[in-house]
Amino acid sequence: MTVDFMPLSAKIETIDRTVEDNHVFTFRLGRPLPVAPGQFIEVSLAGLGAFPVTACGMVSDTAIPSCIRRAGRVTEGLYQLRVGDTVGVRGPFGNGFPLEHFWGKDALLIAGGLGMAPLRGLLHALLERRDEAGEIVLLYGSREPETLLFRDELESFERQGLIRLDFTVDFVSEVPWTPGSFVCKVGMVNELLQGLRIDPTRTVAAVCGPPALYGCVLEELASLGIPPERIFATLERRMKCGVGECCHCVTGGTFICRQGPVFSLAELRNIEGAI
């Protein structure tokens, strides 16, 4: 099989602007593009460039939902576009979360900041076959309550008894407290692990967040007794080509784009500089 770099044209179908600078775009393609949870696509704006991003929910035939932070030159360009405008999409690239590990087990999902986006894709996949998954626990840390992504949806999943949910934020700005306002813990997301009730022998973990999160959380999960082969994390690197050529994402000799971006802790321990 040969690879080229021709993008598919995609129309911006919806833009959800609930969280400032973390809008959720839905891209509608002319043909189905199967993007599994954890896999990524390259979204392209002609004249500006492209960036790698995961789907933040289930990809239903030709529509890809994606939560995209306004973080650089190309995403800034995307934020200038409107519904109906066209972008380019290449992919899918890499290996997603190995869903087969999750069925029949409890799932522990740990998200930091924008790391909630790929984990929401995984969460939706698990909820689609809810009966085949065990207990689903989501620990989610963000800078402040206003930056929590998909907050209403996640709270509704919790109310329906579909998941156990624990939020934490670094800073609280919703003060003074008034009746009915949002209540959550304050602190780093790894602190949510303390006192957490899980059965490590039947738990599969998935972690996504900034590099600092991996440094403190992954080995802590292993010390709780979850086997390192069942602790998964997805790595963010500079991915330009997506196919293991351009070398920007290489970490410890591994192409994160093609051999990852999802790895087990057992694998990550053998990739120098991965965590």
């Binding site: 040969t2 021709m6 044209s9 460039g49 995403t75 351009c246 093609r258």
Partner: protein, 321 residues
């Protein structure tokens, strides 16, 4: 692989024969003393070839090449790749081995393959320089024809049909095997436990000490026959059309591993030097464990501050302190 002794006049006849197939390229030394690989005429003499400053990778991976073009209000267009054959004359064994490495890295890349299929390689034996340090190889590199010691070998069907056409210039009565070593084999193979030594060296001062001199100029990677990393850059035309291009990048540049949001995964020169060393001696991805350095010595010649990866290898392995 059987080779045949050739008679006087064969080299000239060969060049003229190949000229009918496509554009000839050969190495010429310019007035500034720099050897360059560039278009050649049928007057090109095969015998006196030198290592060009920029290796043949520039033919297969042009310094800047289109990935697609989007005309105004149009549909994405695939890049146009020239359909003519390119005949590289007098390519030295180290550069042939480097092409073999690139062939495997870009085995699925459509633009690379289109160019590679149009490439005719005529190799010749080298005169080792003071700065080269080629490792031993287990098998010969790819070539269509290879000339050494008055003898010619065909390494492809194109090469064979070429020799059949020029049979008048060959002595077919005897055949000689390809020399076991095409390179001078001036350095040993990297040690088998290099992976371990490399991993253990992460915090050793050797990287930092050496990198202190590094200017991050990237000359070493630009002239390296197996450095191929690229950046992706858009350029907009005055008509509103956009061309996406890939262009040579450099792992010594500070933003090579920088992601949006400002995190840099290789923020200092020592890590970037170690990264390049890792690619040259250990390889990335499926090529892990295979040395990509062919020992041509270009990086040593090009480095303005005398950084020498082969000497770093020796220090890492404890050969020298």
């Amino acid at each position: 692989m059987a080779g045949h002794t050739y008679r006087k006049g064969f080299e000239k006849a060969l060049v003229e024969h190949l000229h009918r197939d496509g554009q000839l390229w050969g190495v010429a030394v310019d007035d500034d003393g720099v050897a360059r690989l560039r278009p050649a005429t049928t007057a090109f003499e095969l015998g006196s070839t030198k290592l060009p400053l920029i290796p043949p990778k520039k033919i297969l991976l042009p310094p800047r090449e289109a990935m697609w073009h989007l005309p105004p209000d149009g549909a994405y267009r695939e890049p146009e790749i020239q359909n003519d054959k390119t005949v590289l004359l007098g390519i030295l064994p180290c550069d042939l081995y480097a092409l073999w490495y690139l062939d495997r890295v870009f085995a699925e890349d459509s633009s690379y393959l289109k160019r590679r299929q149009k490439l005719v390689l005529v190799g010749t034996m080298c005169q080792p320089s003071e700065q080269c340090f080629c490792p031993p190889h287990a098998s010969p590199p790819p070539f269509d024809l290879f000339l050494a010691e008055g003898c010619v070998w065909a390494g492809s069907s194109l090469g064979q049909s070429c020799l059949a056409d020029l049979a008048d210039h060959l002595d077919m009565s005897e055949s000689r095997p390809l020399p076991a070593e095409l390179t001078a084999g001036k350095s040993d193979a990297a040690p088998e436990d290099l992976e371990r030594l490399f991993l253990e060296s992460r915090h050793r001062p050797l990287w930092k000490n050496e990198a202190q001199r590094c200017l991050s100029c990237g000359a070493c990677s630009a002239v390296c026959p197996t450095c191929y990393c690229y950046d992706v850059v858009d350029s907009a035309g005055l008509d509103g059309g956009v061309t996406r291009q890939r262009e040579w990048d450099n792992c010594f540049f500070r933003n090579h591993a920088l992601v949006a949001g400002g995190h840099n995964f290789r923020p200092d020169r020592a890590e970037r030097l170690r990264f390049r060393f890792e690619h040259k001696y250990l390889g990335f991805g499926e090529m892990r464990g295979e040395q990509s350095c062919v020992g041509c010595g270009r990086c040593v010649s090009a480095c303005p501050v005398d950084i020498d990866l082969s000497s770093l290898l020796n220090r890492l392995c404890g050969v020298i302190q």
